[in-house]
């Protein structure tokens, strides 16, 4: 080892491909539901690229892209066009992909996110729209496979490409950027955020430069990262690999490397010498797009509250820490679960803690989303209420919560928690009954005058005094007995 190792600055830019949630494909009427359909069932002459077929732009896909661009603070030019990106591959039936080259739908935006509560901002170079390719299936390992099959169900599915500036400085930042971006895409309903099935995909351009330098180093493009964890690991690995090459006096090659998740390393796929010349030119089958200001304004006004704004609101309105607020706003269902629980009367801090700790741990273990859990905001509020009123201990509540979570119906577990500490003995309840009668003379009089409603109020007071532990049926009986 050299005595003085150079310190490097990490430079990362991300290209995220997000399938647009539309009913039909980018340029034809075929269904976009490619995962469930039988191979090549959702195809027609257009998405199969048969001779003579022509594309027709899906307006909803353009709208979703503009929606995304606006959520990422981009400029939307009035004039945009589609271009052809030419290359040969069996999953690309026309021999070119309809994409956008020099006049994308949007450019010059930014995305705010944070790393452990520290605010960060990354520039967004552009958001453009293109079509997805088909999918190849190889029999056995690709190297030895004798047969490859093509499924064109995915061919022509609308795909947004979201390109960041090389503004990210660590694997942590890259991961947080993608997490926040995914949250935004889900918030505005343009993408389902599913990385595993490839509906959200991420490529990273990673380079190093001596700290303080303003020139960019040799860039390596890393592909095939199918989870946040993979993004983080792949970039960490690549930083380490590049550092070693540079520290030992080596030179980096501009290349594309694939992340192998099982082996935990990146493998060279192709180097720049063989880089393709895509021969972009304007797509002559499609007229240019005139994006009216009126349309853009309509889309802008239809945007929901975005994660950054919601995060700010959670901090100020509920007194949450920036870290908790970030986590809670990472997906719309989680944020909505939190707010619903608070609206029902639960304290914010406790609600956040439950959602982010026990609840999240169980959900993660099951790879489940919060909206799919049987525990609903009302259940959580009640559980928190039991702790606050001293009915059950915090330790017991954790057990109860897990039982509630595992059950298809959480009610019995809640009832049991209440029941186990319920006061049912007449002797114990007598004191409570006396106190209620003494403190609520008016209601007692009302009940005597025949107002049945007044008894309900008195029972409520009894429950309150007993901190929820009184058996309401017994309370009812004892109150009636005592008053009459």
């Amino acid at each position: 080892m050299s005595a003085v190792a150079t310190t490097y600055e990490v430079v990362v830019g991300l290209e995220v491909h997000a399938q647009v949630l539309t009913q039909s494909k980018m340029f034809c009427g075929c269904s976009t539901d490619y995962l469930k359909a039988a191979p090549n069932a959702n195809t027609c002459e257009v998405c199969l690229g048969l001779p003579g077929s022509l594309p027709v732009i899906n307006r909803r896909a353009v709208e979703a892209t503009i929606r995304t661009a606006l959520a990422l603070n981009c400029e939307i030019p009035e004039f945009s066009k589609f271009d052809r990106k030419n290359y040969f591959y069996p999953d690309l039936p026309k021999g070119y992909q309809i994409s956008q080259y020099d006049l994308p739908l949007s450019r010059n935006g930014h995305l705010d996110f944070d790393v452990k509560g520290e605010p960060r901002r990354a520039g967004i170079t552009r958001v453009h729209l293109e079509e997805d390719t088909g999918k190849l299936l190889h029999e056995g390992a690709i190297e030895e496979s004798q047969v490859s099959l093509v499924n064109f169900n995915r061919s022509g599915v609308p795909l947004m490409e979201i390109v960041s500036e090389p503004d990210l400085r660590s694997a942590d930042e890259a991961r947080e950027y993608v997490m926040r971006l995914r949250a935004i895409l889900q918030y505005i309903g343009v993408n389902n955020g599913d990385m595993e099935s490839g509906q959200l995909r991420c490529d990273a351009n990673v380079s190093l430069r001596p700290a303080g330098s303003s020139e960019l180093g040799t860039k390596v493009e890393v592909k095939n990262m199918n989870s946040f964890r993979a993004i983080h690991r792949a970039i960490e690995y690549e930083i380490e690999r590049q550092t070693q090459v540079l520290d030992t006096g080596g030179k980096l090659t501009q290349e594309t490397r694939g992340w192998n998740d099982a082996r935990g390393l990146t493998v060279s796929q192709r180097t720049k010498e063989f880089a393709e010349d895509y021969r972009y030119f304007p797509e002559p089958d499609l007229p240019p797009l005139d994006v009216s200001r009126k349309w853009v304004d309509e889309i802008r006004s239809s945007l929901p509250e975005l994660p950054a704004a919601r995060r700010e609101r959670f901090i100020t309105a509920y007194g949450l820490t920036p870290y908790d607020a970030s986590l809670l706003t990472s997906t719309p269902p989680m944020a909505e679960f939190f707010e619903a629980t608070v609206r029902l009367g639960a304290p914010a801090k406790a609600s956040a803690n439950w959602i982010l700790s026990d609840f999240s741990r169980l959900l993660n273990a099951d790879q489940k989303e919060i909206q799919d859990a049987s525990v609903k905001p009302a259940h959580l509020r009640e559980l928190i209420g039991l702790i606050d009123s001293g009915v059950i201990s915090g330790k017991m509540a954790k057990q109860t919560f897990e039982t509630m979570y595992r059950a298809s119906d959480p009610e019995p577990a809640l009832a049991e928690a209440k029941g186990s500490s319920q006061i049912s003995g007449d002797a114990e309840l007598a004191g409570i009954v006396d106190q209620v009668i003494a403190e609520n003379a008016k209601s007692v009089a009302d009940f005597k005058a025949g107002k049945e409603q007044a008894l309900k109020f008195l029972i409520g007071q009894g429950m309150k005094l007993s901190m929820g532990r009184a058996n309401p049926q017994r309370l009812d009986a004892l109150l009636r007995e005592k008053i009459s």
């Binding site: 001779p51 003579g52 077929s53 040969f88 021999g95 070119y96 030119f281 002559p284």
Partner: protein, 490 residues
């Protein structure tokens, strides 16, 4: 007169009057195909059974007088670049051998709705690239006026079929003159509408920003009838125009009195045959006698149209033809040891020399580092040509000139010299680049070979082109001349 010698409008009247049936008419044309088909080689595929089935259905329509349209029962030929559902469609290329599309072109759907009868797929230069039909991937077409001569191209099969009585009318496609030039060389009428007037959906693409489908007929009125049936917006083709389609027959016979007709001086190109030039000058004089005012105009960028075309068209073609890789349909070479080799072997054997030449030209023009100097520059030239036409049409209603600088030339005469072949289209290419429409109609014979007069009108003024052409036609007998193969019109 034999049935196969007649025009659409004649035959329509006879069908409506129940003088003849569509089956009789179709059989007459099929019989003529049987007689002369081996000599012209106009067809790649004759769909006899389909034609007779459609003829019977048309007769039923005529009998019940239900939805009888101008083309009901009329036998029509389709250039092989047009997709017809379940009918082999190869664009004249071996690489599409055996390809049967699962869908029909919009124009085919529209003709079917009219009750037209499809005779088959006509021969053409491979992917419509050529001016003599010698680039057909299967066999060349012979001119019905002189079998040792070319019929022009690329819609040479459609032209020869109409000129020999093997079809009453045909559809062709025109990217740089592929309807008009063969029409001129075979003595028929060929009409290239404005880009966007006719849907390209289902037209196997050569150059997407230039291709346009149009009629090839025995006279001008028939072209009006056929265009009427196929023109109009198609939501499946985003480049088709939403402009309403006028009634093309309504204003046909208004004459040229009071019209201003321009003669671009640049269209009398070097190398134009004297007989052609004489014939065109005579035609201009005749229109003047009919009451049109004639003035010389200039289209100053005409000389750079050809080079610009030979950048733009091959560039688009290089991309359009990328899909022919043998993976999914058509021809697939055997013996490839890996993907790239498989692609190369298929494309080497599947494409002909001219197609390969243009793919290479286009690939080069689009390559990074050359794009600005070639493709972008050619697009700028295209804008200049559009402006040339705009300026000219501020002064005149239509332009007159020859369609081709020469009459039909012998087979093999230009096959060794691509540039000489390209020069055939020097007066037709500007109309494609300039987004205007152009019609070619017979205006004379030179040593028994037809000469074509070209009338160019502004974009979406097909009515004007038809009106001028019709005025010329009614004042002359040239359109009544029949090729020796069609036989005397007795």
């Amino acid at each position: 007169m034999r049935l196969f010698q007649r025009t659409i409008r004649d035959l329509h009247q006879m069908l409506v009057d129940r003088e003849i049936s569509s089956v009789e008419l179709t059989e007459s044309v099929l019989e003529q195909i049987g007689h002369v088909g081996d000599q012209t080689k106009a067809y790649l595929l004759v769909t006899r059974e389909l034609a007779l089935k459609q003829a019977r259905a048309a007769d039923e329509r005529l009998r019940s007088q239900r939805d009888v349209r101008p083309l009901t029962g009329i036998p029509i030929a389709l250039k092989d670049v047009l997709c017809v559902k379940d009918v082999t469609s190869t664009a004249g290329s071996k690489i599409l051998k055996g390809f049967t599309p699962p869908y029909s072109a919009t124009v085919v759907d529209r003709l079917e709705a009219e009750g037209a009868v499809f005779l088959g797929k006509t021969n053409c230069d491979e992917f419509a690239m050529g001016s003599s039909n010698e680039n057909s991937g299967y066999y060349p077409v012979h001119n019905p006026w002189a079998l040792d001569r070319v019929p022009g191209g690329s819609s040479g099969g459609s032209a020869a079929a109409v000129a020999s009585g093997e079809a009453i009318a045909a559809l062709g496609s025109d990217t740089g003159g592929s309807i008009r030039q063969p029409a001129a060389l075979t003595g028929i009428v060929g009409f290239k509408p404005t880009y966007g007037r006719v849907s390209r959906y289902g037209l196997i693409a050569f150059a997407s920003s230039l291709d346009q489908i149009g009629p090839m007929t025995r006279d001008v009125a028939d072209s009006a009838v056929l265009l009427q049936a196929i023109a109009g917006h198609d939501r499946r083709d985003s480049t088709s125009s939403p402009k309403p389609v006028p009634d093309y027959l309504a204003g046909l016979d208004q004459g040229v009195k009071g019209m201003r007709l321009g003669v671009p001086k640049e269209y009398f190109v070097a190398g134009m045959e004297p007989a052609v030039e004489q014939s065109i000058r005579d035609a201009i004089r005749l229109l003047e006698q009919q009451g049109a005012s004639i003035e010389e105009v200039s289209l100053p960028h005409s000389d750079v149209a050809l080079p610009a075309y030979y950048i733009i068209a091959p560039a688009e073609a290089s991309s359009n033809l990328a899909r022919y890789d043998g993976v999914r349909y058509g021809y697939q070479a055997e013996g490839g040891r890996n993907l790239i080799e498989q692609y190369m072997l298929t494309r080497q054997a599947g494409f002909g020399a001219e197609v390969k030449r243009r793919i290479m030209l286009g690939t080069y023009a689009l390559s990074s580092g050359y794009y600005d100097a070639y493709y972008l520059q050619a697009q700028k030239v295209r804008t200049l040509i559009i402006d040339d036409f705009k300026r000219a049409f501020e002064k005149v209603d239509a332009l007159l000139g020859a369609t081709s600088p020469t009459v039909a030339f012998p087979l093999g005469a230009k096959t060794q010299d691509p540039v000489a072949m390209y020069l055939n289209d020097i007066i037709t290419i500007p109309a494609n680049l300039g987004n205007v429409c152009g019609i070619s109609l017979p205006c004379g014979l030179a040593d028994g070979l037809p000469i074509g007069l070209q009338v160019i009108a502004p974009g979406f003024r097909e009515d004007t082109a038809l009106r001028v052409a019709y005025a010329f036609e009614t004042a002359t007998e040239f359109h009544k001349a029949r090729s020796p193969l069609m036989g005397a019109a007795a």
